[in-house]
Each structure stands twice: as structure tokens, then as C-alpha cells.
């Protein structure tokens, strides 16, 4: 059936069915995704070490707990700033310029460059010998600080926010905007009552993507932050490669994933995500 129009020997045709192809895909996923996670969860429990669940105790106390809180705090802050920038940019591209394609290329272009290069670029830009300090005489605390990490993530994840927002905004029928104006609404009121609600699905999708990416960011705090700005990914990496504490690294991963999924579930109860992703 699958090979209907292809010159495939009958023997193969009879033996390979769509079921086999599905099995291959699912098998791949099971082998390299589900199985490793199960191993990771098993490791985190620390069964047989004499102190089961001690890694969870450690992960939920002191420095580690603060890192988890910081990760989601950075994630939320980055999401808010990124959405604001992406919305303004999309609005400009959709309604103000005739060179849409040029601006969209400019949005996608940075994705061709590795994150590490872009973060190092920002680091150099704010460094004491860089152009920013040359111009203003100070880096305004942007280097190796909270604002530096959030700035870096904002820049890195902006394209992922612009694309869905641009899409949903560009899909708005211009006559809805015209109708609003003729019905007596000024341009600001039209943005608030018509453009914003009709592009909300793009905003929600963009927010979710940026929040997930930034909460789990590893490179931004590593390059643009100090040890005081470490996020969960940095802690996991350090526990694993420096402290050789596999149980702790695994426990941190499990806790992080559960909190992230719980936050998305809570969010989903307010906004129907299934509907949102259908509308993009």
C-alpha cells in the first residue's frame, strides 16, 4: 500500500506495512527518549544507596531551591520583556512598513549563528573595553548580572516570539480594523479592543515557547552571568560534571520538569492551549 507507486519488490511490499513504519518511529522515541528519562528518574530516587530520596532533600533546600526559584523568575521576566519587544516589532512590520520580507529575514538571520557566539558578542559589547562602555563610560550593570542574563535571553529568544505573534497579527482581516475605526474607535482603542484580542493566540504561543526556553537556559547565565545568576541548568551540569553527584543532578532535572509541566497545566486551565496552537 505504501509502495503503491514505487518499484518495490513484491516480497518487500508484502512484509512492510505502515504498522512497521510507526513501530520504527515509536521504537526510536522509546529507546532514546523514554528509556533515558526512566533511567534518570530511577537514578534520582537513590534506591540502594542507603539514603533513598536524599537527593530530593538536598535539591529542595538552600542554594538549590533558590536556583530553581531564580530559574522561573528569570523565565517570567524574560518572557514579559520579550513579548513586549516582539509585539511592538510585529505591529511595526504588519502595519507600518512595506518591506515585510526584509524585516522577517532580519528576524530569522540571527538563528544561523550559534548561541554561544551571540552571547559572547553581547559580553564583548558590554565589556570594559567594549563600545558601550566607550560611549557611556559605564556598562550600567549589564555585565555578569541578572539584567545581563535577561537581556541576553531576550535577544536570543526574540525570533521565537516574533514569528507566532507576526503570524497571528498578519492574519487579522484589515476590514476588522477599518470597521472598528468607522464604528467610532480611535486608533489606540482599536489596538486594545480589536488587534490585541485577535492576535492573542500568537502572544500565548510565543509566551509559552519563550518561557520554556528561557527557564531552562544554560548558556546565557554561564556566559553573561556570575555564579550568583546560575540557573537550574547550570546547577544540574555542575552537580554532574564537577560534584559527580548523579542522584542530585537527576533529582534537580525531575523537579524542574515537574514544576514546568505543572505551570503549563495551570496556564492551560486559564487559556485553552489546544485552541491556541490550532489557530497559529
Amino acid at each position: 500500500m505504501i509502495f503503491r507507486n514505487l518499484p518495490v519488490p513484491t516480497s518487500v511490499r508484502e512484509r512492510v506495512t505502515p504498522r512497521h513504519l510507526v513501530a520504527f518511529g515509536l521504537g526510536w522515541l522509546a529507546l532514546f527518549f523514554v528509556l533515558p528519562i526512566l533511567v534518570l528518574v530511577w537514578q534520582s530516587l537513590g534506591i540502594g544507596t542507603g539514603e533513598p530520596l536524599s537527593a530530593y532533600q538536598q535539591a529542595l533546600s538552600g542554594l538549590y531551591l533558590w536556583t530553581i526559584v531564580r530559574s522561573f523568575y528569570y523565565g517570567i521576566a524574560t518572557t514579559i520583556v520579550t513579548l513586549a519587544l516582539a509585539y511592538a516589532f510585529s505591529y511595526f512590520v504588519v502595519f507600518w512598513t512595506s518591506m515585510k520580507n526584509l524585516f522577517l529575514i532580519l528576524v530569522v538571520l540571527p538563528l544561523w549563528i550559534a548561541y554561544i557566539i551571540r552571547y559572547l558578542g553581547i559580553q564583548l559589547f558590554f565589556s570594559p573595553t567594549g563600545p558601550f562602555v566607550d560611549l557611556f563610560g559605564t556598562d550600567f550593570g549589564f555585565l555578569f548580572s541578572t539584567r545581563g542574563v535577561i537581556l541576553g535571553m531576550t535577544i536570543a529568544y526574540l525570533p521565537f516570539a516574533i514569528l507566532p505573534i507576526y503570524n497571528s497579527m498578519n492574519a487579522i482581516d484589515r476590514d476588522h480594523i477599518h470597521a472598528s475605526r468607522v464604528l467610532g474607535a480611535g486608533s489606540l482603542r482599536t489596538v486594545y479592543s480589536v488587534v490585541f484580542p485577535l492576535s492573542l493566540s500568537g502572544i500565548v504561543a510565543a509566551g509559552l515557547i519563550v518561557f520554556i526556553l528561557s527557564s531552562g537556559s544554560f548558556l546565557a547565565p554561564a556566559v553573561l552571568g556570575s555564579s550568583e545568576n546560575f540557573m537550574i541548568a547550570n546547577m544540574i551540569e555542575r552537580s554532574y560534571t564537577e560534584l559527580f553527584n548523579i542522584e542530585l543532578a537527576a533529582a534537580l532535572s525531575v523537579i524542574y520538569t515537574i514544576i514546568l509541566l505543572a505551570l503549563i497545566a495551570v496556564f492551560n486551565s486559564y487559556v485553552n492551549l489546544g485552541e491556541v496552537f490550532e489557530n497559529i
Binding site: 476590514d175 470597521a179 475605526r181 468607522v182 474607535a185
Partner: protein
């Protein structure tokens, strides 16, 4: 009431509307009629304030509104696509315009009043995306009228509806307009809609006004060939005026008798310039026994019964088609030889 003076609109190098002037009186139903791309929608949107004119002025109720934003013009507009807000209910759509006009206190009464007017009572809480095409047009009309605008603009509001629904909503629009006597400007490419709805028609072509007048005057006295061919059906002949007989137009073997006063001055009678003759289908008679000044042998080539009457197409000896509107189920068959006749007074000479 509404006065357009020397309106010109360029899109880059493209001239969309050229030096257009017309005016509409209070309570009139006027139509901008023309083929697609003639500038009728551009004109309408300029009046609404959605497009800035390159030149010219728009006066509404004696006030120059040319530079006013759309929200300060007190205009009602029905869009081709309905343009109902998909994130609002029917009631919220109507309430939007009412609130913007400071009528917050009257939302409930006006919503029920105007939904009643378009026969959509009971749909207040429906989502607009759940409505059928016809229902959406009705709600859209109610939304445009609820705050009692000075003028109602309709931009091809019947596009995309099937024939029966088109006629039904067309009649409703006319009835509503009579009932509340709102000054209306309608845009369409459909001459039938224009003829049946309006008391004033402005025919546009290539951004210019071809003719302006009542449906009757456009149909019976078109000023030029474009209007004659665009408004209503007709049979079309060409020929040369005869120097010696001013009431005769010659075309090879065919001789047409016309009213000599109807020959326009712009087509000189002398140098054999071509003129075009138009005869409306209802003015042509198929009858072998009667005597007309214009009588020709013809062959029936097509018979279409459209219900109330039949549209018959015949061919003259030289192959020129002739359209006739006849009684239903005529005693004719395709290929039959017969004669057609019409009076000189019914010939439009252009």
C-alpha cells in the same frame, strides 16, 4: 448632505479616481456602479476616511470632513466581508459602535431595536462565526445603523451570497432604507442591483464618472456607449449615417430608421463616421404579420426561459445577434426563420 468635489486618488503612479464630483441629497439611495477596478470602492473608502484622497474635498452635512479620521465622521459602513468582530457576540458587535458614540445607556434598547429591524432578534448571544453568510450581512447592517449615522455606506455587501439570498437581502436593504430614511451610498458592479435599489446612480469607469442620473434616465438615455452597454441588456448595431436622409443609418444591406434628433452632434453626419445603435430587448417584437419601420429577417438561435418571461436570441442575415424579451414559452424553435421589428423611437443612437 454628502458632497464630493474634484476627488482624485493616486496609488503611486496608478490613477484610481480622477476628478470625481457628485452629491447626494438627504434620504437618497445612491449607487456607485462600475466594473471592478473602476475606483468605486476607493471612492467609498475615501468617504469613510479609510483612504486619504490625493486631491479633492468631502463635505458631510455641510462640514468639510476631508481631513477627519474615520472615527469622527459619524458614518455607518457595511463591508464586503461583513467584518463582524469574531471575538465578540452579536450583541457585543452592536454595542461596540454604540459605546464609541457615547450611547452606553441605550445599548440594550438599541441592540434589540436594530436586531429586530434586520430580523435577527434572539441572536444576541450568538458568536458571529456561528452565523450563516446572510445572517452575518444582516447583523453587519444592524451594527452600522444602531448608532444612527449620518450616512450609510455599503461596499458590495451582497458579494458571496447565492442568488436567492442576494435578492432577499437586497429587498431588505431597500425596505430598511425606506423605513428609517437613512441617506445611503451603495457600491456594486451589478447593474441589476443598482437599478432596483437606487434613486440615483453614478456610473464609474476607469476612475471617471461616465454618467449620473436616475435608473430610468440611465437606461433610456445613456450618454455614451459604456453606459449603454453596462446598464441593461441591448442589441447592438453599427452603421454610417446617410448624408441625404438624416433619419437613416446604413450598414451594408441593413438600413435602420432612427429618430433624426437622437443622432448625437458629436458624431458628424457627413464623413461617414460610425455610430452605434442600441435597442433594448423589451422594445423588439418577433412577429411576421406586423409592420415596423425597422423590420428584418432573422433566425432563432437561442431560447432561454427565465420564469417570468423568455429571453430569445436571434441572428440577422449578416450574423448580428438580436436580443428579444418575449412571453414565456413562445411558439418558436431554434433554427426557425422569422422577422424582428422595432420602432425608430426605441433606437438609442450613440
Amino acid at each position: 448632505m454628502l458632497e464630493i468635489t474634484n476627488l482624485t486618488k493616486y496609488y503611486g503612479d496608478h490613477l484610481a479616481v480622477e476628478d470625481l464630483s457628485f452629491s447626494i441629497e438627504e434620504g437618497d439611495f445612491a449607487t456607485l456602479l462600475g466594473p471592478s477596478g473602476c475606483g468605486k470602492s476607493t471612492t467609498l473608502r475615501t468617504i469613510a476616511g479609510l483612504i486619504e484622497p490625493t486631491e479633492g474635498t468631502i463635505t458631510l452635512r455641510g462640514e468639510d470632513v476631508t481631513n477627519l479620521p474615520p472615527d469622527q465622521r459619524n458614518i455607518g459602513m457595511v463591508f464586503q466581508s461583513s467584518a463582524l468582530f469574531p471575538h465578540m457576540t452579536v450583541k457585543e458587535n452592536l454595542a461596540y459602535g454604540l459605546k464609541m458614540h457615547g450611547l452606553d445607556d441605550e445599548v440594550d434598547t438599541r441592540v434589540s431595536e436594530y436586531l429586530d429591524l434586520v430580523e435577527m432578534s434572539g441572536y444576541e448571544d450568538h458568536k458571529t462565526t456561528e452565523l450563516s453568510g446572510g445572517q452575518q450581512r444582516r447583523v453587519s447592517i444592524a451594527r452600522a445603523l444602531a448608532y444612527e449615522p449620518d450616512i450609510l455606506l455599503l461596499d458590495e455587501p451582497l458579494t458571496g451570497l447565492d442568488r436567492v439570498l442576494r435578492e432577499q437581502i437586497r429587498n431588505e436593504i431597500k425596505q430598511i432604507q425606506r423605513e428609517i430614511n437613512v441617506t445611503t451610498l451603495f457600491v456594486t458592479h451589478d447593474q441589476q442591483e443598482a437599478l432596483s435599489l437606487s434613486n440615483q446612480i453614478i456610473v464609474l469607469n476607469n476612475g471617471q464618472k461616465e454618467q449620473e442620473g436616475t435608473p430610468e434616465s440611465l437606461y433610456e438615455h445613456p450618454k455614451n456607449r459604456f453606459v449603454a452597454e453596462f446598464v441593461g441588456k441591448s442589441s447592438r448595431f453599427t452603421g454610417q449615417p446617410d448624408d441625404t436622409k438624416p433619419s437613416v443609418i446604413q450598414n451594408g444591406s441593413l438600413t435602420f430608421a432612427v429618430d433624426p434628433e437622437s443622432i448625437p452632434d458629436t458624431s458628424p453626419n457627413t464623413d461617414g463616421a460610425d455610430v452605434t445603435l442600441y435597442v433594448r430587448p423589451e422594445d423588439v417584437v418577433i412577429d411576421t404579420s406586423s409592420t415596423f419601420q425597422n423590420e428584418f429577417d432573422a433566425t432563432v438561435s437561442h431560447i432561454a426561459d427565465v420564469g417570468s418571461h423568455s429571453e430569445i436570441e436571434l441572428e440577422l442575415e449578416d450574423g448580428t445577434p438580436v436580443l428579444v424579451e418575449a412571453e414565456r414559452f413562445p411558439d418558436l424553435s431554434v433554427g426557425e426563420q422569422t422577422t424582428v421589428g422595432f420602432d425608430p423611437e426605441d433606437v438609442i443612437v450613440l
